[in-house]
Amino acid sequence: MITLALDIVTTAAILFIVSAGLLIVFGVMKIINFAHASFITVGAYAALVASRLGLPPVLAPALAFLAGGLIGAAAERVVVRRLYGRPLDAILATWGLSIVMGQLVTLAFGREVQFVPAPISGTVMILGEGYSGYRLLMVGAAIAIAVLFTGLLNGTRLGLSTRAVIMNETLAQGLGIDSARVRLITFGIGCGLAAIAGALITPLASVDPNMGLSWLIGAFMLVMISGGSLLTLGLSCFVLGGLQVLASTFISPILGGLTIAVLAAVALRLRPEGFARA
């Protein structure tokens, strides 16, 4: 029972970490970054490089954020900038970007599956049951990310400009806010966050050029039903992630993998604009 509850909480945390970057990009720029999967992969390989170089594991997410953020900013300048107002084309172009990035990663690192050792091994005793310490760490990471970005959005000038752009870009521009710069920084941060997610999840699984793909659809659906709100995203991750764990445990892990996509599609049918204000 405890194990099940912890499974749900940690799964929700992992989903949140993976989706947060996509939400930020969608909320501010109203486009869906299908290259999100590749940025997760970039972060994972950054963690691989960090472990090969012998760096302390704490630095891996930082290295990942740097790599993801810089590549993301470059992508925004070159490709994404021309696609505002064309949401379906944005999905396609970012998907193309993802193919390009995947091939570059393969050229650099080879296409075989590789592994990163977990920084924390072993279990933590929770209420009489041992549970994976690293998974519990993910909960902490998710909370830290949520707090950090809410703080950024609400407590800084950049955050204020960003919120203005979210609400009414034309008006914000008219008031002198450089919305192009806001978009650039936001996209960079969103991609950097995806990379952090990649660095954090690799110790649990493995690294290969296509690993981000399995997270993309889940993250995408969660973002769609959350509208633009981080809080709603957290709730969606909890509810849908929880249902996924329950389905995996009591029905089958294979059908459990479907839960998020199917339920989110149904939810969107009922409320196409997402549940942000609910």
Binding site: T3, E112, V113, F115, A118, S132, T249, P253, I254
Partner: protein, 389 residues
């Protein structure tokens, strides 16, 4: 240290091999096709398989080749799956027109490839252990089947660990299901009980809910049969992270992958036809030659890669016995020749399968395998009663 670039190494090595072949004799080289999982689940072990093939080809070519012709390797990626295998085999059989196919593949890839092998009429030596009962007049197998590999582990858990309740985990495809079906039958035959049987698709990597079910079923022992390579590693990692310390028998792990897992692999029981610790002159000279050829890039020789080495020699023996590379003659000869390799004397004489010496071992903290018991010349039983050999 630079990240491994095994594919470009393979490409370079294959190019070198073909270059070596060219000036030696005017005769055209004999092409050996090696379709293997350079990407996907098997990508962890594929490099070791290619290295074995490369060493065998180099040694044979240095001694004059086969029937006066040099050997050349054609490596292709089957992506560890059915769709990729189709493309790889099509390319090797119809485009590159290889004389023989020698490789280790997932069962999904093998099953998809067999119709192409039959259509192209190319001899195929399958060098991977698998779930058994796959039969084709064109295919020979020199690796183990469940009848040879499973009983040692189950018997050991039963007698030495007193295990009565078993939990089974596998990858959801022919190999995983086939192995665990045999295992379940054997467990029940020897008085044990299976309290849980769970599967994930071959590419799945999230074992969380299965591990939770394992814990709540509270078995005495765990036996797994995932696709070789990546799923093994993710499962073991997640098992250890969740604190599972049961007797753990892994039917599909090889020494190389175990070494790659690091400390997580310690304590795993495996049953294999090859471990690096085999104390024989043939094994020692094999390991020396591998070390000399590949140096720091050497991938641990293991139960999936050594049969590849021996299979190349088996082809040499068969072609020389048949005095030709004609496929019908070679196929007949393959069932009659024997090879002395690191695993001892191998003869694919039992309905296209081979009796093998099996070793029950446990992975140590440094990644090496300590042999607990060995079983000489274990018979594969009747795998293909309809094949005449």
């Amino acid at each position: 240290m630079t990240p491994t670039r095994s594919f470009s190494n393979v490409l370079a090595a294959a190019a070198c091999t073909t270059l070596l072949a060219a000036p030696a004799l005017a005769a055209e080289p004999i092409k050996i096709g090696v379709p293997v999982g350079l990407s996907g689940a098997n990508s962890v072990v594929a490099p070791s398989v290619v290295q074995s093939a490369q060493l065998a080809v180099e040694e044979i070519n240095a001694k004059g080749g086969v029937l006066g012709r040099q050997l050349a390797l054609e490596v292709a990626d089957d992506a560890s799956g059915a769709a990729g295998a189709q493309k790889a085999f099509d390319s090797l059989v119809f485009q590159k027109k290889v004389d023989v196919l020698i490789s280790m593949e997932t069962s999904a890839a093998r099953n998809a490839a067999l119709p192409i092998v039959a259509r192209g009429k190319v001899p195929y030596i399958y060098t991977s252990f698998y779930e058994g009962k796959s039969c084709s007049p064109f295919m020979y197998v020199n690796a183990w089947v469940p009848e040879q590999q499973v009983p040692p582990i189950v018997d050991y858990f039963n007698k030495e660990k007193g295990a009565k309740k078993f939990f089974l985990i596998g990858s959801d495809y022919a190999f995983g299901r086939g192995m665990l079906a045999f295992t379940k039958a054997y467990i029940e035959k020897t008085g044990g009980k299976v309290v849980g049987e769970e599967y994930l698709p071959m590419d799945g990597s999230d074992w969380t809910s299965i591990i939770s079910k394992l814990k709540s079923a509270a078995p005495d022992a765990l036996i797994t049969s995932t696709a070789g390579g990546a799923p093994n590693v993710t499962l073991t990692k997640q098992l250890r992270a969740a604190g599972v310390a049961l007797p753990y028998g892994n039917l599909a792990v090889d020494e190389g992958t175990a070494k790659g897992m690091g400390t997580d692999a310690e304590g795993i029981y495996l049953s294999a036809s090859y471990v690096t610790g085999i104390d024989s002159a043939a094994n020692k000279s094999f390991l020396d030659a591998m070390q000399k050829k590949f140096g720091a890039e050497l991938k641990t020789p293991n139960d999936l890669s050594v049969p590849e080495y021996e299979a190349v020699y088996a082809y040499k023996a068969a072609a020389e016995k048949a005095s030709s590379t004609d496929e019908a003659k070679v196929l007949k000869a393959l069932g009659e020749v024997s090879v002395e390799g690191p695993r001892g004397k191998i003869e694919m004489s039992k309905q296209h399968h081979a009796p093998l010496t099996m070793y029950l071992g446990q992975v140590q903290a440094d990644g090496s395998v300590k042999v607990i018991k060995s079983f000489l010349n274990v018979d594969p039983d009747a795998q293909c009663p309809n094949l005449k050999s």
